[in-house]
Symmetry: C2
Subunit: 319 residues, 2 copies
């Protein structure tokens, strides 16, 4: 049982803390203010309930040939030998762990010392991240490993503020972590092999598939492929070559994938797609395809059609 | 029952002719020489056998929740209401059609007049295509529609040689057409709406999902997305960020797809991937990522590790 501190109680921070608690670690969310507690507590309740619900549903998947695709991969380690009894045990243990192993604190000086692993999962704000690293640095134990869940920023940008550069690296999770159980693990040039390997091991302990990067790479592995792929799909749409549903159908039949690019965009959220497109300098050039993508996405966002969470994006998700 | 002429008896030409014959059309392969007949006849035998084999296997898929994914989509039109008896009927009819409806001819003047649809499926050689269009042009009936299956060349490059520009367009199929049943349909600016719509209809008649492009687009829909996607994946490999299996695993877990980019490359074949990379002007720049990809692919090709068909590519397929 490791002592894990999660810095930040956003969507992903909450999910990271909960999956660590589920697998028996002692987890404390460090939050900045009473206001943060008010926002994080409902998330903890909601995601704990969703996780346990998916675990209960997994019982009905035993023996179903699709079961191996549909069970919550981050919550069950050995599907091949699963039984209803084993799932009952996981449910009982999970309910206990998600209750007893989850704490919230506003007191940094009380929670950082003694932590085995600190997971920084704040929003993508460079200055805010620097500030929190500098606030923590003198409290971090010599054995503690500090990881960041940043999606877009590189560990080399922050290592000098941490006080423990050799024990600092990135571990990047996907949303709905208990189902999409990837942990992309990426050091900066000064990260020690020991710290890297310990995080690979920890990722496995908390039900993740560790995906090892040997170099710093903006976007890690997944987004390095998703971004050009989604851009190409959006270009076909913006250039009026074909409509989103035809483009999806083509990809789905052509590669046997369950979701084409516009279904993925609906899951990612159109605001995120919009922000990613904005990072491309060509988006400013009037008449460029990225300029056209910008306009089309903006139109949909203005109508509130931002994807699955909004009930409508490129597809309709209302019941 | 339409009279279909397939010009060229390569891998895809053969498959196009056979699926059209299977669905009851009268199909003639026009070939250039006795030598071509010697190469095409075994392909006709082999693909006919494979198609009927997959149809027979489909009986065991009825009632299997994975069945809807695995049945040969181009050979069965209404899976939802399928029964073993209906498959037996399709087998009997298919065996008859694949025998009785398939002809080979060296005599262009005998087969082109009276054709309802001519499918040009020659190799990607601009001069050879021009030559065959010019040879056919005075033989083509006024009602005939001429389609090209070219993957990389655009109909606007050839329309003026056809003698029937308003009835000329592209219909692009995928390999193993009886399973991967897409037909990307793309006109040039002078293609008539009537001819376009007739080909959309014909695609449906022969078990394909018609995918409509509203503009000429090099690479159609699928390759317009596959090329940048596969390039991004190969860049991660060439830059030593991660190894092919890790990259595949990341994509497969992250998007729930059955095959990551390197599995797709093994299916596409590494020679094709090599040729596509060569088309990128950056490949000539020493030290560029495409230069590195070129070297790595060349190494594997030299070792004979060219993909699924060779028994080894990024993965091992030997039994």
């Amino acid at each position: 049982m490791k002592k894990v501190v999660v810095v930040g109680g956003g969507v992903l921070g909450t999910q990271i803390g909960l999956i660590a608690a589920y697998w028996g670690n002692d987890v404390t969310f460090w939050l900045r203010s009473e206001g943060s507690i008010g926002r994080t507590e409902p998330k903890i309740k909601r995601y704990s309930a969703l996780m346990l619900e998916d675990l209960k549903k997994a019982k009905a998947l035993i023996g179903n040939p699709m079961g191996a695709y549909l069970y919550p991969h981050g919550m069950i380690k050995d599907w091949a030998s699963i039984t209803p009894e084993k799932i009952d045990e996981l449910i009982a243990q999970g309910e206990a762990n998600l209750t007893n192993n989850v704490h919230i604190s506003l007191d940094m000086a009380a929670v950082i010392p003694g932590a085995d692993i600190i997971v920084e999962s704040m929003s993508e704000n460079v200055e805010a991240k620097k500030a929190v690293y500098e606030k923590m640095r003198d409290l971090i134990d010599e054995h503690t490993i500090l990881v960041t869940n940043s999606s877009t920023l590189l560990p080399s940008m922050f290592e000098k503020y941490t006080g423990c550069p050799e024990r600092y690296l990135a571990m990047h999770f996907a949303n709905t972590i208990w189902k999409n159980n990837t942990a992309e693990i990426m050091g900066h040039p000064g990260t020690s092999e020991e710290a890297y390997n310990k995080i690979v091991e920890f990722a496995g302990e908390i039900g993740m598939v560790p995906l090892c990067l040997h170099k710093e790479q903006p976007g890690y592995i997944l987004n390095s492929m998703l971004v050009p792929f989604l851009n190409a799909a959006q270009a076909l749409w913006a250039n009026e070559v074909a409509d989103p549903k035809t483009i999806d159908k083509t990809w789905e039949i052509g590669t046997s994938a369950p979701a084409g690019p516009f279904k993925i965009l609906d899951i990612v959220g159109l605001e995120t797609a919009y922000n990613i497109n904005l990072m491309n300098p060509k988006t400013k050039e009037e008449g460029s395809v990225n300029y056209k993508i910008d306009k089309l996405l903006k139109e949909k966002i203005d109508k509130g059609e931002t994807g699955v969470n909004a009930g409508k994006g490129f597809y309709d998700y209302k019941k």
